[in-house]
Amino acid sequence: MLAGSDWACTSDEDLARGAASGSQDAYSELVRRHSKKLLNLAWRMTGSQEAALDAVQEAWLSGWKGIRSFRGEAEFYSWMRRILVNGINNEFRKRSRRAALVSLDRSMDSEESGEPLQVEDEGADPQDIVGRAETAREIGQAVVRLPDMYRVVFLLRETELMSYSEIADVLGIAEGTVKSRLNMARRMLRETLSEEVGSARFA
């Protein structure tokens, strides 16, 4: 049993190989290394910390079951991110089927119960900080309110900085679809924001 710090010089690929041959310690180190980014993505996708923790935990368990299929041709983080995004997407699909039976408005309300989004305070001008904080908080909430398929594409592009082809690959859709969904997401966000913030900021 090695402590976390002893793995510092071991690459993700070697850790994954260790995990594939049964080392739970090696796998735990991978969990330690990559969970923060995965949690941030899951939190942006779901809008809830609790849902994000559950989704990332499930993703890590799926990763353990499939670790032998990780061949190292992609980065380990990308490999895990794909598992996470697919897992959350499946939840979205289940939820939208349920929502179709119940009521869309109610399901949206229950999803919004998360903690208020916070914004990093950088920059000198207090007026500017307040302005940016408001915009970012409103954006965060507007993103959570986007229909699932637009939100996922928007986040993979704008916060994960993935290329259109990577997004298409992960989601199993055409690049043209990525392009049009992204465009739709941006248009909806602009409209939401110009209503809430006032047209001046995005004119």
């Binding site: 939190w43 935990q57 079951k65 914004v119 965060g140 290329s163 259109y164 465009n183 248009r187 004119a203």
Partner: protein, 201 residues
């Protein structure tokens, strides 16, 4: 690519700011943006939601609590795997199905007990390991009790058959006696003895 107005459409502008336009298309867009302030405005408006989204500060995560949850989950998976392997080795399909049930109950327990506590930063792993062990033991104990049940059923069946046979034989013997006795009584001409000897019949 260009709208009737002569400006670039939003999808093209979006692809441009995403670095997804290549070759002549990229050149044409760049040339137009250089001379058109309307499209420059639109492009920066298209990029604004994304840069605002990147500024939203993520929560502080308790990664160690998550590591503990994942480790406990993996232990439970491994325990399950062993239970299933045991069952397969023994060639008992029904036990495999039971292990499936244990897996389901195990994961339900995981959500319930460790889920929320793990989030609060408490150590949930001991309880989870325990749960995994309990699930495995449950499978084994169910297998034992199934064997016990089968044995008891066989014993019960055998004794029932035995008892039934015994009762039947007694009945036959009694009937034989009645026949023999009545035959004797009738032959001996003492019909009254028939009623005296078998008052209940």
């Amino acid at each position: 690519m260009k709208r009737e107005s002569g400006h670039l459409d939003a999808e093209t502008l979006g692809a441009y700011i995403d670095g997804e336009l290549h070759g002549p298309a990229r050149q044409a867009a760049a040339d137009h943006l250089r001379v058109c302030s309307v499209c420059r405005e639109t492009a920066s408006a298209l990029g604004a939601p994304g840069s605002a989204a990147r500024q939203v500060q993520a929560p502080e995560w308790n990664v160690e609590a998550l590591v503990a949850r994942v480790e406990a989950g993996i232990s439970a998976l491994e325990a399950e795997g062993e239970a299933v392997n045991d069952a397969v080795a023994a060639g008992r399909r029904r036990t495999v199905e039971r292990a499936g049930v244990a897996r389901w109950t195990g994961s339900a327990g995981r959500e319930g007990s460790a889920g929320r506590e793990g989030l609060a930063g408490r150590e949930g792993s001991a309880g989870l390991g325990d749960l995994a062990g309990r699930a495995a033991r449950w499978v084994k104990s169910r297998r034992r009790s199934a064997l016990g049940f089968a044995a008891a059923a066989v014993i019960l069946l055998v004794s029932l058959v035995g008892a039934a046979g015994y009762v039947y034989r007694r009945e036959m013997i009694a009937q034989d006696r009645v026949l023999v006795d009545s035959h004797y009584i009738i032959r001996s001409g003492n019909a009254g003895a028939l009623l005296v000897s078998y008052p209940g019949r």
